[in-house]
């Protein structure tokens, strides 16, 4: 196991109280595994991604642990977390288009970033990786504004993986791209994994069909909790959790990207996470809900590598 997350709880502080955005999630990612993380907005997937690398100012680590390569990550401590960032855990952010300092030439920025982390820049390796993503080496002498959107995206992917992190978090990196570019990004990420640039990957997206092209395993989250986790093919073809089933069936056809309308088929809204009622959080929208659902369903491994948190599935 590269990554092990155990009962992780991360809350958002708001003026009205704590929003339980991530409320006891456990899972593992194996060496070389790409885990796709899917779910609708507000399900906690972005919170999870942030929790693994850098909590933002309003988030607080309430409980649970994260273990990466047998080291417990101090995720609640921004300063102590620093040595792990970039070297062990790295991030390709949602905002690749604006992730680079606009007033520094890219090469200089990379060098300054590495210097600040006391790492020597291996220029040959950097050139190799630029070649790999088909970026001309001259980009290092350019300002970000001189690059096209796709070039910026690839440049950020190269920077983020330059130190061969154990875990790479890719947070909604494809949502702003057109279909062909999405495919290219997915291929590149796979290539990074196959060449060993990254040991494991967490690919966060709301687009299940895209996840299916890349991920070995898909984890579906709902309202801050794990709903279902299984090999990609199983989640797509034989999901057990009613939420996953609805999510998949609301797609016109898996593989066709039409996921923007993913939830029109599920009536109702996710519950408030401010003071969530105990029990299954999906039960208000669930067609199969019954009395037992007033108790919280524990995640159960129904088959090998197939975890479902639902009384009906167990």
């Amino acid at each position: 196991m590269t990554l092990e997350v155990d009962d992780l709880r991360v809350y958002y502080r708001t003026l009205k109280g704590d929003v339980q955005a991530l409320d006891g999630v456990s899972f593992g990612v194996k060496d070389g595994e790409i885990l796709g993380l899917a779910g609708e907005s507000g399900c906690g997937k972005t919170t999870l991604g942030k929790a693994l690398i850098r909590l933002d100012g309003r988030m607080k680590h309430v409980g649970g642990s994260v273990t990466l390569d047998d080291q417990v990550l101090p995720i609640g401590d921004d300063v102590k977390m620093n040595p792990y960032r970039f070297k062990q855990v790295s991030l390709i952010p949602q905002y690749s288009m604006s992730a680079m300092n606009p007033t520094r030439k890219i090469g200089r920025m990379v060098r300054e970033l590495l210097d600040s982390r006391k790492v020597k820049l291996d220029l040959d390796e950097l050139h190799n990786r630029l070649d790999l993503v088909e970026l001309p080496r001259e980009v290092l002498g350019k300002y970000p504004i001189e690059l096209s959107g796709g070039m910026k995206q690839r440049m950020v992917m190269v920077i983020s993986t330059l130190l061969n992190p154990s875990l790479l978090i890719a947070d909604e990196i494809t949502s702003a791209l057109d279909v062909s570019t999405q495919k290219a990004v997915v291929t590149t990420l796979k290539g990074f994994r196959d060449r060993g640039f990254v040991k494991s990957m967490l690919f966060i997206t709301h687009d299940i069909s895209l996840t299916n092209q890349l991920a070995d395993t898909i984890m579906v989250m709902y309202a801050g909790k794990l709903a279902e986790k299984a090999p990609a093919g199983v989640v797509v073809n034989a999901p057990k959790h009613p939420y996953t089933q609805l999510l998949i069936s609301s797609l016109p056809e898996v593989g066709v990207r039409y996921a923007d309308k993913r939830l029109t088929g599920i009536p109702g809204n996710p519950p408030s996470l401010l003071n969530p009622v105990p029990g299954c959080r999906f039960r208000d929208r669930c067609p199969l809900a019954f009395d037992k659902c007033a108790e919280e369903p524990p995640p159960v491994e129904v088959e090998k590598d197939h975890v479902v948190a639902c009384w009906k599935a167990a």
């Binding site: 690398i53 850098r54 977390m81 620093n82 040595p83 792990y84 960032r85 970039f86 070297k87 790295s90 991030l91 952010p93 905002y95 604006s98 992730a99 680079m100 300092n101 606009p102 007033t103 520094r104 030439k105 300054e112 970033l113 600040s116 982390r117 300002y143 504004i145 001189e146 950020v156 920077i159 983020s160």
Partner: protein, 331 residues
């Protein structure tokens, strides 16, 4: 590049054109014979001077000519450097009075603007996102920026000049001195310069500190700062980048604030009877010397436009994006 500067120069050209036109138009909009009424209101003692001025100005205004001719004449006079003759300091030409005063004004303005800008930016950057410092720098800055220039000048003149008697409170140099390139005169000059400079500097400082603090907070929340934080870059590097980028809007701010800063310098000069343009303008207003006033106006407009252009050039040098964008546009 050419397009950028072309646009800027067009604006500056239009501004100057408008200033000259306003200057030409305002006296003509006043009821009655402007020359006569001006001379009547002016306090010119000698009758022969009165007559000489009347002839001179009737010629200058050229009321027997059609209005467009008058207008063109005024441009002609301007290009000859002829701003007329001062009524207050008759018969000194206005241009002479102004060129004598300008060095004093610049000696106050340039250092106070530049130093307050540099230190204010440093201070604001330091205060941003640091609770204790922020809670002291920010309130002080707000008080400073809300203070009228003239009042802080008066307070400092009173405190340091009159109560404690450390610095002189009036003039550009001591009455006993004659201007010369000697060491004692220079020291005397500097001694008289300290208070007006300090009061200008302080008021301007507050504004820059507030501006920088707000911009840098914005920069620290920007995507590139978040990305660097996620990659574990130390705060030092992130702050350095943020500061570098926050300086850019502050340069634009400098251009926008020039008018206010010049105005502040004018009233500060008046408080300290400093022999710059401000004191000249006060004399012109008190003595109804409109030619002097209008000349001073054109000088100030011209100065501000030149300064704006210099700032534009600096901006292009400092912000790579403008250069890159321009290179792309011209290629």
């Amino acid at each position: 590049m050419r397009r950028y500067f072309g646009r800027k120069l067009l604006v500056y050209g239009l501004t100057f054109f408008m200033a000259v036109t306003v200057n030409w138009l305002v006296p003509r909009l006043m009821p009655g014979d402007p020359v006569a009424s001006m001379l009547a209101r002016a306090r010119v003692a000698q009758p022969e001077a009165q007559e000489a001025l009347r002839v001179y100005y009737n010629n200058l205004f050229g009321f027997d000519q059609p209005w467009w001719q008058q207008y063109l004449n005024s441009w002609g006079a301007l290009f000859r450097g002829d701003f007329g003759i001062s009524l207050w300091a008759f018969p000194t030409p206005v241009a002479d009075l102004l060129t004598r005063a300008v060095p004093y004004s610049l000696a106050l303005l340039i250092p106070s603007i530049l130093i307050s800008w540099v230190i204010g930016n440093r201070l604001g950057a330091l205060a941003a996102r640091r609770k204790v410092l922020d809670n002291t720098v920010l309130p002080v800055s707000y008080v400073l920026t809300a203070t009228p220039y003239l009042w802080l000048a008066a307070l400092m003149a009173w405190g340091f000049g009159i109560v404690w008697g450390i610095f002189p409170v009036a003039g550009g140099y001591s009455f006993s001195m004659t201007p010369s390139f000697t060491w004692p005169f220079f020291v005397d000059l500097l001694w008289h310069w300290v208070l007006p400079f300090a009061s200008l500097f302080l008021v301007a400082l507050g504004g820059w500190a507030i501006g920088m603090r707000n911009v840098i907070i914005y920069e620290l929340e920007s995507d590139y700062a978040n990305y660097l934080s996620a990659l574990g870059a130390p705060q030092k590097l992130i702050r350095r980048y943020a500061f570098r980028n926050a300086v850019l809007p502050q340069i634009t701010g400098l251009a926008l604030q020039l008018g206010v800063l010049v105005a502040g310098a004018l009233v500060t000069e008046i408080v300290f009877s400093y022999p710059g343009l401000g004191s000249l303008i006060l004399a012109a207003i008190q003595n109804k010397d409109f030619f002097l006033l209008q000349g001073a106006f054109l000088f100030i407009v011209l100065g501000v436009l030149i300064a704006n252009f210099i700032i534009d050039v600096i901006y292009v040098i400092v912000d790579p994006r403008t250069r890159v964008g321009m290179a792309g546009a011209s290629a």
